[in-house]
């Protein structure tokens, strides 16, 4: 009997609550959508970086995805972010540098987009000039040789669209569109682009085996007397396969692109670029900051015999006097076979990432 009264009270109070809710539209909250952290990451590395002022939500990610694929962001509405960052290329493109809306090519190779929330230093692009994903997303829209838009025009176009005002309300509780909210939504979508299902990931989790050739390739990668790649490009305990740090890896004797030095103004940073992840190389050719190498074989040959001396070359490029690490033909082939085990075909076909 006592219980019965308690239930009644409970029901009454719940009703009272919901009544209040109904009268107050401001209590709508977007649905939180925590990042789905893969086991291979939670086992090995520290948690991703998500800014407090831009939490991941279902509605924010959905809006960001729509914006990412939307040509409305470019001045003449012919290209989207996805034009240079295409899902089938692990979110990069297949040309050495990329052409924007006016058919003019930039000077840098488009970068693949994955595991961006694990870039702990939050220095984005090849030279580290962008200090967060939110801020980075401002740039391509107004870059004269990329989307060549004016943000005020973009915001106006979105504001008069049939769908966007409502999608912004669902994501950010206001249908007044701004540049800041637009880039927040795009950054939320970008953080969901997680790639962690390569053959090597499954090998690490005990779900796949490497061939003897791939195993030897890993040894070449890890051996200071052979490839010695792991000091900059991760290792089986760091499945990001990059240190996200800036190095001069010996591509050039003199620099037309100063890289980090152009950002810091410090000549000792000239020629330094951020080490890219070696995940998904199967889909991201051509390689390096200006896309100079069309194939992985060329990249491996460069590290083996093609290094160029310069004042800022990293001390880890220790065999520069001999042109490089001088791998045998067998070791080169094995290294390539290992590198390809870091590619993740399921990332390309993930239905959540398609237009």
């Amino acid at each position: 009997m006592k219980n019965w009264i308690a239930y009644l009270l409970l029901i009454v109070s719940v009703l009272a609550c919901s009544k209040e809710n109904a009268s107050d539209t401001e209590t709508y909250e977007p649905t939180p959508l925590p990042l789905n952290i893969p086991q291979i990451f939670s086992n090995n590395i520290i948690p991703p970086v998500i800014p407090n002022n831009n939490p991941q939500t279902v509605e924010g990610v959905a809006l960001g995805k729509k914006l990412f694929f939307d040509k409305t962001l470019s001045a003449n509405q012919t290209i989207a972010c996805a034009s240079c960052h295409a899902p089938q290329n692990a979110f990069t493109d297949n040309t050495p540098t990329s052409d924007g809306i006016d058919g003019i090519f930039g000077t840098r190779n488009s970068m693949p987009l994955f595991n961006l929330a694990w870039n702990y230093g939050e220095r984005f692009t090849w030279d580290g000039k962008e200090l967060s994903l939110e801020r980075q997303a401002i740039e391509p829209v107004q870059n004269p040789i990329e989307m060549h838009s004016d943000w005020d025009d973009v915001v106006d176009r979105l504001q008069v669209d049939n769908d966007y005002p409502e999608l912004f309300r669902l994501a950010f509780k206001t249908s007044t569109i701004t540049k800041e909210l637009t880039t927040k939504a795009i950054a939320q979508f970008e953080r969901t682009l997680i790639s962690a299902n390569s053959k090597f990931d499954r090998f690490s989790l005990g779900q796949a085996t490497l061939t003897p050739q791939e195993q030897n390739g890993l040894n070449v990668f890890m051996d200071e007397e052979k490839g010695d790649c792991f000091h900059c490009h991760g290792n089986p305990n760091n499945p990001l396969w990059t240190d996200n740090v800036f190095h001069n890896n010996g591509l050039d004797a003199t620099f037309t692109d100063l890289g980090l030095g152009g950002v810091t103004g410090d000549p000792s940073d000239n020629g330094k670029f951020r080490s890219p992840s070696l995940r998904n190389l199967a889909y991201t050719a051509p390689y390096m900051h200006n896309g100079r190498f069309a194939t992985l074989d060329q990249v491996i040959e460069f590290y083996s015999t093609g290094l160029q001396q310069s004042p800022t070359i990293d001390a880890l490029m220790k065999k520069v006097d001999q042109g490089g690490v001088n791998l045998s033909a067998q070791d080169k082939a094995d290294l390539k076979a290992f590198l390809l085990t870091l590619s993740d075909p399921s990332f390309l076909s993930n239905p959540g990432f398609q237009d």
Binding site: N44, N219, E224, E225, G234, N237, N238, D243, D314, K318
Partner: protein, 254 residues
Amino acid sequence: MKQIFALLMCVALALTSCGEDMDDNALSNANINFKFSHTWDNTLINSSNLTTQTLTNENGENINITRIRYLISKLQLVNSSGTTFTFDGYKFTDLENEDTYNFTPENNSIPTGTYTLKFVWGFNEEDNIDGAYLDLNSASWNWPTMLGGGYHFLQFDGMYNVDTTPSPFNYHNGTARVSVGNFEQNFAIIELETPLNITKNATINVNMNISEFFKNPNTWDLNVLDTPLMPNYNAQKMMQENVMSVFNVEGITQ
């Protein structure tokens, strides 16, 4: 019922007596943290001159530093009666990042008294577990499994003979490989004699004299031992010997 009452009384008693203990300690306990500085003999090295300063090592080569990162663990204070207080955690220092020069253990309270400082260079065998520390993995601090696995103790990269023909050196220290599949522990126990009279909350100042890595007891000839040194057993053992004179207690601030 009586039993439960008795039990409750016991618990209550235990709790209050605990509380009193803590009060007693608070009167004579001190919180300890550590501050590391780095020098090349008398030249202070920090993030602003790490890569720009040209230095001369014991053997006479002029060098420039590219990066120095190192790991120490199991910091302990040993008091005059032989009781040891072990601090949790490990200290991973990157000379480029001055925030990492300081170290405050999570449980850093010890009774006041006179102590000496002791710590492990790198990780000892028990702690040097391959892949076990997520922050160190995230910093790509791992030591290859083919060399025994676990973690680097030191990564010291730079150029030597910078005045004539600059060549790279990679002075990296970790587990020593005797032969394929056969490894030897290579950590070092650093015991610093300087007595530390701790009367209240204190910062213990420790200095690393980087030049000692090339000096004592082995005068290091970079022309011979530059790279690769990780798989070089003799080089690894010489590093283990030379690290013994690298650290010094500078004193305490309290």
